[in-house]
Symmetry: none
Subunit: 193 residues, 2 copies
């Protein structure tokens, strides 16, 4: 019954992949097989015991807490010239769309554009003060959204800059936003690097 063994081991590995919190006893019951057989299977598959699996997950999830906040910018910045212009790209996945209709939730498009607007400002503190948005076309999972930002003359207001962002999928504009940004330092201090 060579096939049975192989099949069982494959299913066992898959099972533990999805739900690592099962004891050998649980697994034995699930496959109607003895605990020892489950142990042998784990040996052969190189799967560690429950406690080791838990420890792994726990320490990995500790790292995750530190790893998560590295989304300072939503989307990958491809090109940037401070206080002038910037380009970023953002790939829309299933995670970003309404399950209802498959259309990307607005806040993701906003997040990409807003992040870019913040990034393009050459100042250690840049905050969004106001903005006007237009969602022109629905965006779907699989779409690659390219956002282009350009910094416009602030119109004389101190500590302010205007950033205009246009996001496109292919050639089609899907989103536009005007961001009025607050900054601590006046524009033009190129000496800061």
């Amino acid at each position: 019954m060579r096939l049975q063994k192989r099949e069982r081991q494959e299913k066992l590995a898959a099972l533990l992949e999805g739900n690592p919190l099962m004891t050998d006893g649980d697994l034995a019951e699930h496959f109607s097989v003895s605990v020892q057989t489950v142990r042998l299977d784990r040996m052969e598959l190189g799967i560690p015991e429950l406690r080791e699996r838990l420890k792994d997950m726990a320490s990995r999830s500790l790292d995750d807490v530190k790893a998560l906040p590295i989304d300072e910018v939503i989307g990958d910045i491809l090109d940037i010239e401070l206080d002038k212009r910037a380009v970023s790209v953002f790939d829309v996945t299933e995670d970003h769309v309404f399950q209802r209709n498959g259309i990307a939730r607005g806040h993701h498009l906003f997040a990409q554009a807003n992040s870019l607007a913040v990034a393009v400002i050459d100042d250690e503190l840049a905050l969004t003060a106001k903005s006007e948005l237009e969602f022109r076309k629905p965006v779907h999972a699989g779409d690659r959204v390219v956002a282009k930002a350009e910094v416009l003359p602030a119109g004389g207001k101190p500590h302010r800059s205007i950033v205009r962002v246009v996001s496109t999928v292919g050639e089609e504009p899907v989103f536009t936003g005007i961001f009025e940004m607050y900054r601590t330092h006046e524009r033009g201090k190129e000496g800061q690097q």
Copy 2:
């Protein structure tokens, strides 16, 4: 030496908060105290044993994988009356702020408000078409943001609704947004419940 005990227990709790992977033995060594004392301390503090802590972390990190994409709505909706008004609350954590200055990134405030605007519309398909935002005050980690949405007369435009959202921390308004929403069905079909 009542103080010593209290102090030790505080440090012990803090220690496990930061690094839950320590055995009673590790802790005993760290505090130069017997294992039994550590156990008593854990009892008094209601801290479960190592394995339970690992199991908790592991299952939590499993949930996280499933829980993250289920952010159909950012923030918890406290109250909602379709096509009229809705309230949601969103707790800002370290994960939502710029590490630079501790100020919440704009897209989180937008996401809460926009989610609420979508939720309050009584239609199977509601999309944001345009919006105007104002970020009035910086929001910090630990702040609890309460967003209130009200649906305004659409001004005669077909398939449109206007939603006004005001977000506050305490009594202070921190964010306001006007959302022009697109909907498939005209307003007024109350029969749907």
